[in-house]
């Protein structure tokens, strides 16, 4: 080693983690080796280092043995770095005189060869011991947390999280992309397993959001950019023009009647196209806010500029402004809850189910609208050709559990398929056939719900449908034949039905990747956002201060969504109420005497934290702006920029440690 | 039981046969040889009998083009031994063939009450199926041709065979062992052998070769001339509606004096 830092007294601790580490790594051998290294005063192994006795043992050693450096080889630093830093500081040691060795996730769990695994553990232990000698005492900077919260997405998750936070007295910005909040839940008729009306339980919450003094609700709006970090995010929101002056519109809907289009003729998104709307419309009667919106894609005035503008004339309050421009708002918040929801699988992605080809093949969401009393048929189940179905097939797992589409189980389809079986039977008295691969009904009262549906006479056929085609021999009905193997009796069956319902799975939103980048969070390859820990931090992301709620994290039902939204709100509250956040001190700084003033670092910083001081002819780093990536450090030709926690000496000593370089050097020196 | 099956390669009529310049033999340019169909049945019958009674099947043939394929195929089907008789085999016909086979049997096999000799009951170049009769004569054994089924009676150590006669008449015979059978059809059609198995057998088995002595054959038959049969008449295709065709038919039949 080039130099040591005086009287270094290091304690080394390796955790068994039950058998998780000790089952592969020979911990005694590691301790045996490490105890012979220079500077090491104590080396111990223990069953669970993170447990109270483990922590106490370390603290006692720090005090009794006068340790001034601490190395713990255990799990990933993502899990317990904070724990052991606390151990150090509680024992009176600066918490940054600590280094953690990842011996579980990146060693014991991924290797089979115990010898190689132990050798790796020794190399990395030595590396940490070499490194920790160069650590410096650092202070964490405390930054106050802005008490405002941004909630992205106004579905049931966003609604519930917003209300929870607002009720706790926090200022909430709820941003929704569509003209109304409510999300998918607003489209549903009834909810399983209780069969209570979705609108009845959702719309009161929607109006609470609208009326809550602590909630600023921006519909028809999108997030444009997110800057800053936990406690202090700066968010730009774009309010798309709905061509209505919100403050003036009272929701009388006269403009809709007055539209030059006498009949609705455009695809009605809310009713899945089963009905038509006009260019000026309100998505559904309980839409919140109760404001119309003008769709420039279909409005004749936007296309030809020759419309008589009857809508403008009829509005007594002069609330229509066809020249409205997008509005850009900048807000400051301390925490963010991402609740962007899901996208139903596009059923034409399984071409052999004939969606889009045969008019009587419906998606589950379409059927929700058909059954809904406020839907396009006022709750009458009438098919596109005007007939009423006598035989209905409900096909589970469309776009789920299939490598050709989506690999995962969408978790809610079994139960909503059961629910639709019940509702369709109630509305039509038709014979219902549920084609399924496995019936999955976990959760409270769910299995009971399944039995109830079975008792109601729903026919269950265990087999994934392989083909749907019109019966060419049936001149009258032209029923659709649903072909599958009933795997329980090993017979190929062909069921003629009038209507097919495709229980489509849940997918991530198409723009999940853009959202992920904007918020600096991660998503799996399929596009669901990844939580910080699947069990212990299910609503946290890897980015501090950003939380997840609802189906953007993975498919889930309404109770779980609401529970998760509550949890996300609680996490946000906990942060806000702590009042401040402690930042990692991994910022960069300039050692002025060494700086030659070459300015090569200045343009490298994406946060403009580096400036050039004309008077001194030196670079200067604004610590408040520095995020601690270290890019400038790596490129400074004179080595005058240093990064706390990642100083050159620290990394070189890590390399030395891994390669056991001093020993080699000594050997070559002495011969 | 010891099953000895004599096989014969015959011209494959899938290719048009041409008479060679000498007017006495077939043009060998495009000539392909294949195993005589009845002989395939004889092999099949021998293997079926072996599967029922146990024993050993030996297939024996005079050398010819593509014979090896046929012998390996028989081995793949279940024959135990294949023998190829080589030598000057030009202009050899049934009596001489029988003589060669008889000599082979006398030199190499014990013909006892556990030996059955089989061969196809006819071939395209031996419609009468003479060979087995010549052979039986030389061996002094009973002989039965046009056999369509064979079953072994273990209690009496004899066979019950079915023979076909013209006019759809069949006869059942009790036959002693040893004897010579000319097989018309085996109990089942010749079985299919995956080519992979034949190719494997080619790598692992060998064909025993025996050379006949230069002289000692008493050829009693010689081909004088080969010629193609003359075209005697042609089929006439009738065209038109069913009514027109039937009218024409009646006219033709009347002219020919059939009706």
């Amino acid at each position: 080693m080039s130099k040591t830092t005086g009287n270094t007294r290091t304690g080394f601790y390796i955790c068994h983690c039950g058998t998780n580490i000790a089952g592969t790594v020979d911990v005694e051998k590691v301790v045996d080796y490490v105890s012979k290294l220079p500077n090491v005063v104590v080396a111990k192994h223990y069953k669970y280092m993170c447990s109270d006795p483990g922590q106490e043992m370390i603290q006692k050693d720090i005090r009794d043995q006068n340790l001034n450096r601490l190395v713990v080889a255990a799990c990933s630093p993502f899990l317990h770095e904070r724990t052991f830093r606390n151990v150090a500081s509680q024992a009176g040691l600066n918490q940054f005189f600590f280094q953690m060795v990842n011996t579980r996730e990146q060693n014991a769990w991924v290797h089979l060869d115990a010898l190689a695994s132990t050798e790796k553990a020794i190399d990395l232990a030595r590396s940490a011991i070499f490194r920790v000698a160069f650590h410096k005492p650092l202070e964490q900077k405390k930054v106050p947390i802005h008490p405002g919260v941004l909630v992205v997405g106004g579905g049931i998750a966003g609604i519930h999280a917003s209300l929870t936070l607002a009720n706790a007295g926090k200022k909430v910005f709820l941003v929704e992309r569509e003209p109304t909040i409510g999300g998918h839940m607003a489209m549903f008729d009834k909810t399983f397993p209780t069969l209570d009306c979705a609108a009845c339980i959702l719309t009161p919450k929607m109006s609470s959001v609208k009326n809550h003094p602590n909630i600023t609700m921006w519909t028809y709006s999108e997030i444009e950019s997110v800057d800053g970090y936990v406690g202090n995010f700066k968010v730009n929101v774009k309010k798309k023009p709905r061509y209505i002056i919100e403050d003036l519109c009272v929701g009388c809907l006269d403009c809709i009647d007055a539209c030059v289009y006498k009949e609705p003729r455009f695809f009605d998104e809310f009713n899945q196209g089963l009905s038509k709307r006009k260019p000026v419309y309100i998505p559904f009667p309980q839409a919140t806010p109760q404001l119309v919106v003008i769709d420039p894609e279909t409005c004749i005035d936007f296309k030809s500029n020759k419309c008589k503008k009857t809508c403008v004339d009829v509005c007594e309050r002069k609330a229509i402004d066809l020249n409205q421009q997008p509005e850009h708002k900048e807000i400051e918040v301390g925490t963010i809850i991402v609740a962007t929801g899901f996208k139903p699988f596009d059923a034409s992605g399984v071409p052999y189910y004939g969606y889009g080809v045969y008019p009587n093949v419906y998606t589950a969401l379409e059927v929700e609208r058909l059954i809904n009393a406020s839907g396009p048929t006022s709750g009458e189940v009438v098919m596109r050709d005007g007939s009423r179905p006598e035989k209905i097939a409900i096909i589970h797992c469309v776009g789920s559990r299939d490598k050709n589409t989506n690999l995962w189980c969408s978790r809610v389809c079994c139960l909503y398929s059961l629910k639709l079986a019940h509702l369709l039977k109630e509305h039509t008295h038709a014979d219902i056939y549920n084609f399924y691969i496995d019936i999955r009904t976990p959760g409270k009262m769910m299995e009971e719900f399944y039995y109830r549906m079975a008792e109601e006479g729903t026919k269950f056929i265990r087999g994934r449908v392989a083909d749907i085609y019109p019966d060419l021999t049936d001149e009258v009905h032209r029923r659709l034949i649903v072909k599958a193997e009933d795997t329980l009796i090993s017979e190929i069956i062909k069921v003629p039905v009038d209507m097919v319902v495709l229980s489509t799975g849940l997918e991530p939103r198409a723009d999940a990747n853009d959202v992920r980048r904007m918020f600096n969070i991660t998503c799996s390859t399929e596009g669901f956002f990844i939580e910080r820990h699947p069990k212990l931090a299910p609503v946290n992301t890897f980015t501090d201060g950003i939380f997840l709620a609802g189906c953007c994290q993975g498919p889930k039902d309404i109770p779980d969504t609401v529970a998760q939204a509550g949890a996300a709100a609680a996490e946000a509250l906990a942060l806000i109420d702590s009042g401040f956040i402690e930042l990692e001190p991994n910022t960069a700084f300039v050692v002025e005497v060494d700086c030659s003033g070459c300015k090569s670092c200045v343009p490298l910083c994406p946060y403009s934290a580096i400036s050039y001081q004309e008077d001194k002819k030196k670079a200067y780093i604004n610590e408040a702006l520095c995020k601690g990536c270290g890019t400038c450090v790596a490129s400074c030709p004179s080595g005058s920029i240093k990064q706390n926690l990642f100083e050159d000496e620290e990394i070189y000593s890590e390399i030395d440690g891994i390669l056991n370089y001093t020993n080699i050097y000594e050997v070559s020196e002495c011969c | 039981m010891n099953f000895i099956v004599f096989l014969k390669m015959v011209p494959d009529v899938i290719e048009e046969l041409k008479i060679a310049g000498d007017g006495k033999s077939l043009d060998s340019d495009w000539l392909r040889m294949k195993l005589n169909e009845c002989d395939e049945h004889a092999v099949e019958e021998a293997i079926i009998l072996k599967e029922k009674t146990g024993g050993k099947v030996t297939v024996i043939a005079l050398d010819a083009m593509e014979l090896d394929d046929a012998l390996f195929s028989a081995l793949a089907k279940g024959a135990d031994k294949a023998v190829k008789i080589t030598g000057n085999l030009q202009n050899i016909h049934s009596p001489a063939v029988a003589e060669i086979y008889a000599k082979y049997l006398k030199d190499n096999c014990l013909i006892d009450n556990k030996t059955l000799i089989l061969s196809g009951s006819q071939a395209i170049d031996d419609i009468e199926g003479e060979m087995i009769y010549f052979l039986a004569e030389l061996l002094n054994l009973p002989v039965y041709g046009v056999v369509t089924s064979v079953s072994y009676n273990s209690d009496k150590n004899d066979l019950t065979i079915m023979k076909e006669f013209s006019g759809g008449i069949r006869g059942e015979f009790e036959v002693e062992i040893p004897s010579v059978l000319g097989i018309q059809a085996a109990e089942n059609p010749p079985r299919y052998i995956p080519i992979a198995k034949i190719r494997a057998i080619m790598k692992t088995s060998t064909i025993e070769e025996i050379e006949i002595p230069e002289d000692g054959l008493t050829e009693k038959i010689a081909i004088d001339k080969l010629f193609e049969s003359e075209v005697s008449g042609r089929a006439e295709m009738l065209e038109g509606s069913p009514e027109e065709i039937s009218a024409k038919l009646i006219e033709i039949f009347t002219v020919k004096g059939i009706i």
């Binding site: 060869d113 790796k120 991994n586 270290g630 | -």
Partner: protein
């Protein structure tokens, strides 16, 4: 006295390469953790050094690793466009392209130095990359720069002594 990696390396029986891996905190290090949580087994030859961003990887770290006995160096960062610090990975890439040529000009085989983009969800890619790199470095054999350095030092000493001897002779 440049290295010539085309000459076959001998005497490497039972030898296991050591690879130093600089992984960025947000993507690749997290992916390596994910590989662990998913129990995705891979070759035990890589030793990870965590940095906040691949942009922090100073070319000197790579040189230092080779000089001190590493057989390979792997740098892992976020996919282009995914950098936690907006564009640190681009800075790394820019530097890396240049540096790769420098390393090659030293006679170090290009397979010993590798830059990979591995996102936090790509646990299996960690396995693929490490296994592939270990296989390639194994095929190349040990680099053993420290040993070579000391041999070269000795040669230099002898040469220097010779030169000194000659000079003395001249002086004499």
């Amino acid at each position: 006295m440049l290295l010539d990696e085309n000459k076959s390396q001998s005497g490497s029986q039972g030898w296991q390469p050591k690879i130093i891996a600089f992984f960025c905190n947000w993507c690749t290090y997290t992916a390596a953790d994910l590989a662990g949580v998913s129990r995705i087994k891979h070759a035990p030859n890589a030793r990870v050094i965590r940095v906040m961003c691949s942009g922090r990887v100073d070319p000197q770290f790579i040189l230092d690793s080779f000089a001190k006995g590493a057989d390979g160096v792997l740098v892992g960062g976020c996919h282009p466009g995914d950098c936690h610090y907006q564009e640190g990975n681009y800075k790394c890439l820019r530097r890396f392209q240049l540096f790769k040529r420098v390393v090659e000009s030293f006679g170090i085989n290009k397979d010993r130095l590798r830059l990979e983009w591995i996102s936090a969800s790509e646990g299996d890619k960690v396995r693929l990359v490490i296994n592939d790199m270990v296989a390639k470095v194994k095929a190349l054999g040990p680099l053993s720069l420290p040993k070579k350095f000391s041999e070269w030092d000795k040669e230099m000493n002898i040469i220097e002594e010779k030169i000194a001897g000659k000079e003395e002779a001249v002086h004499a």
